[in-house]
């Protein structure tokens, strides 16, 4: 039980560091630490499938985020403090915590899930689908349409990313492309600053 609290506090500290640090690269790496902490906590919560997926996704998202930050000025722009946004953010945060505390009274206590539907999955899953891993039997058999929808969403988002990132269309070939797909020359980096 204590291991959960330790890991949660670790994740919260990582998140605060990620939000408040000035250097963007260290912020991104702190997010990576938060994700790895999440995967360890999933392991302790008896969810090995989620833990494996979380590690893989974490590595990929870290690569994507580093790809965003690596070419730019690495430091946060904090010349003028935006007081209004800070105050609005803090007020919203306080309200959210109060309402969340109120809402959690309606939830079943930690460690006693409801499991009305899923107890029958656990009982019948192996007999009905032939899979020893009940999570796999849920995503690939009972809720297979959800997984299909997930694949569609993933495909659409990757397609969108490619459309956004592609070099300029045929109309503007005369303009100089600034290496939209990654490596740009040294002098171009200097020029863009």
């Amino acid at each position: 039980m204590t291991v959960f609290y330790v890991l949660m506090v670790f994740m919260i500290i990582g998140a605060i560091v990620a939000v408040e640090t000035k250097n963007m690269l260290s912020a991104v790496i702190a997010v990576g630490a938060v994700g790895v902490g999440a995967s360890v906590i999933f392991l302790f919560l008896r969810a090995p499938d989620i833990a494996i997926t979380q590690v893989i996704v974490e590595v990929l998202s870290l690569i994507i985020l580093i790809r965003v930050t690596i070419r730019a000025d690495n430091y946060a722009i904090e010349r003028r403090q935006d007081n209004f946004a800070n105050i609005v953010g803090l007020v919203f945060v306080g309200l959210f915590l109060v309402f969340a505390f109120w809402a959690y009274k309606g939830l079943p206590e930690f460690g006693n899930p409801l499991m009305r539907v899923s107890s029958s999955y656990l009982r019948e899953g192996t007999r009905e689908t032939g899979a020893a891993n009940i999570v796999a039997s849920v995503i690939l058999d009972y809720r297979a349409y959800d997984t299909l929808g997930e694949a569609i969403v993933l495909f659409t988002s990757i397609l969108g990313a490619f459309v956004i990132l592609r070099p300029k269309g045929r109309k503007h070939t005369s303009e100089k492309d600034k290496g939209s797909f990654g490596i740009i020359e040294d002098k171009e980096i200097k020029g863009s600053r």
């Binding site: 959960f4 499938d49 989620i50």
Partner: protein
Amino acid sequence: MYILCTVLFVIGIYSIIAKRHIVKKIIGMVIIEYSVNLFLILVGYKAGGIAPILAKGQDVAEFASKGVDPLPQALVLTSIVIGLGTLALMAALAIRLYEKYNTFDMSEINRLRG
């Protein structure tokens, strides 16, 4: 436990609202995603439970009474992967904005537009 998870969520919200750097906003989004996934798994946890994987020769009745909730795990598995897709989309937008305006500062971009 739930409250600590909500604190994580709230840090992400604060990062989205109050920070001006666009990468910080993306980071806030990612933190929110982690906290929501974690919350769903926490709701499905059973104290002293076992992973929902049937071992060889294990009694099914005992397994059904001790296993943790497999349903949130399956759906969170979906949501984690979708999170990667949305992160890629957001990162692409950020790179595009940087190419166009040469800055990551959101208020600066607002000022430059039009």
